[in-house]
């Protein structure tokens, strides 16, 4: 068990800079999820922590030790790979025992640990099989088992659920979370799937192009996104971004749709200068159906996606295209007009040029 400290990390492949300058602290016991679009450098960062990739500049500490030049074998970390990377010529038992054997542990203790981990993951019936004779889900469990028998300082996961089907993924997601609460070991989990990040993390690190965009709890990154990238990346369907302008007490959208500012921002409306161009961010779930509200605008329904629990409504209003999540009881149909209004205090404002959130 150990904390992780990364200071001014720079990573280049040839003359391509993948991570320009990254600092991050991960406290002991924390379950951190690195999330970001494909190719943003998540795996590279994880592999640097594992010792599988070198560092160009900066420092990496695991616990109190600076590990920049410590080889993977000596870092006492465990890693679950995207393709599981099980040893094909070994049985499940041997796969799980391998790392312990490398550490010179006694046969009896190895067997005890393997049994315990196998029970925990419900693979105790598979111990004598080869990886070839396992299903995808079982292989995934073996890969996890190989990590948890170790009792390492840190667990690293590189998109370990991406090769599972949707149902299994949801199940394993919950299991990993339960496991993390049981083991209390520092975990760094990489994924491009924001739902995995939201559901599992103690803290989420949102990355883009090798740069950390925001670090925060799932609630924080959802409720207070630092910029438009985070706002658009976290949450599904994505936040609607609507160009707007502040005029005396009103927020005007294109084509004359406008709201009284204090309706949307009872608290913070003073901070915004009049005439300033803004980007309004509204999540689909934050449009309210408001038939009796005079401030509501008329949303022309263009497409309806029922999800069962909610219904997604694609609509236009003035020059705006947006998505709202409404109650399925409304039974909207294309062509309907719904009176909608953004929920007070749920609307985000961004600077259009920089994408930074305005508080």
């Amino acid at each position: 068990m150990a904390s992780i400290r990364i200071r001014n990390l720079v990573k280049r492949f040839g003359n391509v800079t993948v991570i320009p300058d990254l600092s991050l602290d991960i406290p002991d016991h924390e379950f951190v999820v690195l999330v970001g679009p494909s190719g943003c450098g998540k795996s590279t960062l994880l592999r640097i922590l594992a010792g599988l990739e070198s560092v160009n500049e900066g420092d990496v500490y695991i616990g109190e030790e600076r590990v920049n030049t410590v080889p993977a074998a000596k870092r006492d970390i465990a890693m679950v790979f995207q393709d599981y990377a099980l040893y094909p010529h070994m049985t499940v038992r041997q796969n799980m025992a391998f790392a312990l054997e490398m550490r010179g542990m006694s046969k009896a203790e190895i067997e005890e640990r393997v049994q315990k981990a196998a029970k925990l993951l419900h693979i105790d019936g598979l111990l004598d099989r080869r990886p070839k004779a396992l299903s995808g889900g079982q292989r995934q469990r073996v890969a996890m088992g190989r990590a948890i028998v170790r009792d390492p300082k840190v667990f690293l996961f590189d998109e370990p659920l991406s090769n599972l089907d949707a149902k299994l993924r949801a199940q394993v997601r919950a299991e990993i979370k339960a496991l993390s609460q049981q083991l209390r070991t520092t975990m760094v989990f990489v994924t491009h799937d924001q739902i995995e990040a939201m559901t599992m993390a103690d803290r989420i690190v949102v990355m883009q192009s090798g740069v950390i965009q925001q670090v925060g709890s799932p609630e924080e990154v959802y409720e207070k996104p630092a910029n438009m990238f985070v706002a658009g990346f976290i949450g599904s369907p994505s936040m609607n971004f609507i160009p707007a302008r502040m005029t005396d007490g009103e927020i005007c959208l294109e084509d004359g749709v406008s709201f009284p500012a204090e309706r949307l921002f009872p608290v913070r409306s003073q901070a915004i200068e009049a005439g300033q161009p803004l980007t309004l961010g509204v999540r689909p779930e934050h449009f309210l159906f408001a038939p009796d509200d005079p401030a509501a605008f008329k949303a022309q329904v263009s497409l309806v996606e029922p999800l069962g629990s909610d219904t997604l409504v694609h609509f236009t209003a003035g020059g705006i295209d947006a998505v709202a999540r409404v109650s399925p009881d409304l039974r909207p149909k294309p062509g309907d007009v719904l009176p909608l209004i953004p929920a007070p205090n749920k609307v985000h404002l961004f600077m259009p040029e920089t994408g930074e959130a305005i508080c």
């Binding site: 594992a50 010792g51 599988l52 080889p71 993977a72 074998a73 000596k74 870092r75 970390i77 465990a78 890693m79 790979f81 995207q82 393709d83 990377a85 099980l86 040893y87 094909p88 010529h89 391998f98 790392a99 490398m102 550490r103 080869r130 990886p131 070839k132 190989r146 170790r150």
Partner: protein, 275 residues
């Protein structure tokens, strides 16, 4: 393009015919060799070759009586086995490192050495081995035959190593393996099919290579194939004995190939590693 059933049938016929032609090209000389070994010398060179004749063991008997055939056989076995072992011992880690680091020039160099005509090496080696008084020793032959076996081992094994997902090696490192342990605990067991293929090929090529033995051996260490050259041109060539010797020499690689046939095929087509 869609293929009609009749086109398929024609492709099938063509396949059969081509395979038969290939078969005849390969088998005919072998058959000729084996048959000739049971003929009297004057019959061997008869034209057209006779298919029906009274077989005789004269050639084999004379081979036995006139040459230390067993000794040559032992020489060949020693040199070939040892040079194959040496080739595996050196070539396997070399192939692993080339595959791991993706630094390919050492493999290219061995390939060039292998493709260069053997005569190129002869003079320097002759002088070198004479200097250290090793002409006629087994070691001179074993070491020089490693030039035959090692490139084969490297080039046969390279795709086997390349075929192992890199993450497996990385997992092993994370699990606490030093690179050397990664090699013998993980990589080596995963290329066992490649090891058998490369040892067989190395064995066959080393067994059949005569040039180095011709120069670097003496009458005690002469290999079978080099010795069989003595049948050519001692006044008149003893074709019958030569064919008998050739038949016996061809036997071990052939038997080996038949025994490990299934391994060889599955090894040559790879896929052995993927789970």
């Amino acid at each position: 393009m869609t293929s009609t059933p009749s086109a398929d049938r024609w492709i099938g016929y063509l396949n059969t015919v081509l395979l038969m032609v290939a078969g005849i090209i390969v088998v005919a000389p072998t058959l000729w060799m084996v048959l000739s070994s049971f003929k009297f010398s004057h019959e061997v060179t008869a034209y057209p070759p006779t298919l029906f004749f009274t077989p005789t063991l004269t050639n084999y008997v004379s081979l036995w009586e006139r040459t230390p055939f067993i000794q040559y056989g032992i020489n060949s076995a020693v040199v070939t086995s040892a040079s194959t072992a040496l080739g595996i011992l050196l070539g396997t880690p070399a192939a692993f490192v080339v595959s791991w680091t993706r630094i390919t020039w050492p493999a290219i160099v061995t390939l060039l050495a292998r493709m260069a005509p053997g005569t190129l090496f002869l003079l320097p080696w002759y002088l070198m081995f004479r200097q250290i008084d090793m002409i006629g020793s087994y070691w001179a032959l074993i070491l020089t035959h490693a030039v035959i076996t090692m490139p084969i081992v490297i080039w046969v094994l390279l795709p086997f190593f390349d075929n192992i997902p890199r993450s497996i090696f990385e997992a092993a490192q994370v699990d606490g393996c030093s690179p050397i342990r990664v090699f013998y605990r993980i990589a080596l067991p995963l290329v066992s099919a490649g090891l058998s293929v490369s040892s067989i090929l190395a064995f066959v090529f080393s067994w059949n290579y005569f040039l180095f033995a011709l120069v670097l051996s003496n009458s005690d260490t002469k290999t079978l194939i080099a010795a069989s050259f003595n049948f050519i041109g001692e006044g008149s060539t003893n074709w019958g004995a030569l064919m008998a010797a050739a038949t016996l020499i061809a036997l071990p690689p052939l038997v080996l190939a038949i025994i490990v046939q299934r391994w060889l095929v599955s090894g040559l087509t790879l896929g052995a590693v993927k789970g």
